[in-house]
Symmetry: C2
Subunit: 144 residues, 2 copies
DNA sequence: CGCTGATCGTCAGTATTACTGACGATTGGA
DNA sequence: TCCAATCGTCAGTAATACTGACGATCAGCG
């Protein structure tokens, strides 16, 4: 397996291909699972961050999600229009916005996260339960 | 772990987050690893497909890569301009182009694949050797 | 042989996403 | 009080991949 072979490489064995296609498939499952809640996976990510750290600035939310503050503007515009989050001026620092989940937002995170869990479970269906745990753990360690 | 808990979900434990960040990190490693060859990961994918199936039509290449034929046009334009692939009219079916690796293309796939292997290895560095194999195998099974 | 439907490569247009760079407003420290 | 830094915002840009259409070509059927 590791002696100096020179075999034709196979695209479907490449890590990039494997990640990309797994991510695409998960995205599709999420589209179906989250449709009843009117959000997509990216938006659920923002809601999850807010559920874990109530009342953050937009900049903080962006950092936690792993995007940047300019991307967050339009994202929060949409979530605000959907009634899932609220923006209020920070009382002590008027440069900031305090971003919080609305009541509707809290209910949506709860239910949509369950739907997302189901989507993940469906993606991982070909694996045994311990294999699923190992996969998650391996990915977690790769991402430090 | 599986009793009716209602804990705050953590974004970094979500599969979508894990895949996205692993893919981003790998993309970055690939950027560095492939720079000497003047190609990116997407282009290496095309070259790898061509190395495994010499003389395909553009449509076939696109299907194997998992994109569509309109995307492939510009991609092959670039690879042709770089002297890595050649396009010739199919002798029997003049609708098709026969796409083949040039000599330079063959050498590039060989060397760039090695560089890509190194990038993958670096991404998987936190895992033991059997764990790397398990991860690949799990991803392969997820993607059918 | 002549039609008809399908296929191939191409291109224009569009949508999505995320970035850079700049701006005004605001803050906090020298 | 002044200056550098921060925050949210927006315009512009770049990368990517899609849809829909087009002409050229092919294959099958009558």
């Amino acid at each position: 397996m590791s002696s100096g072979e020179e075999g034709t490489p196979e695209l479907s064995a490449r890590l990039g291909y494997l990640f990309k296609h797994a991510a695409l498939r998960l995205e599709e499952l999420h589209r179906e699972a989250l449709a009843p809640y009117g959000i997509d996976g990216r938006e659920l990510g923002v809601l999850i961050v807010l559920a874990g750290a109530e009342s953050s600035s937009q900049h903080e939310v962006a950092q936690r999600v792993g995007s940047d503050r300019t991307t967050m503007v339009a994202l929060l515009d949409v979530l605000e229009r959907k009634g899932l989050v609220s923006r209020q001026p920070h009382p002590q620092d008027r440069r900031r916005n305090v971003v919080e989940l609305t009541e509707h937002g809290r209910a949506t995170v709860r239910d949509a996260t369950r739907a997302s869990d189901a989507a993940e479970k469906e993606l991982l269906a070909p694996l045994s339960v311990p294999e699923r745990k190992d996969l998650r753990e391996a990915l977690r360690r790769i991402n430090e």
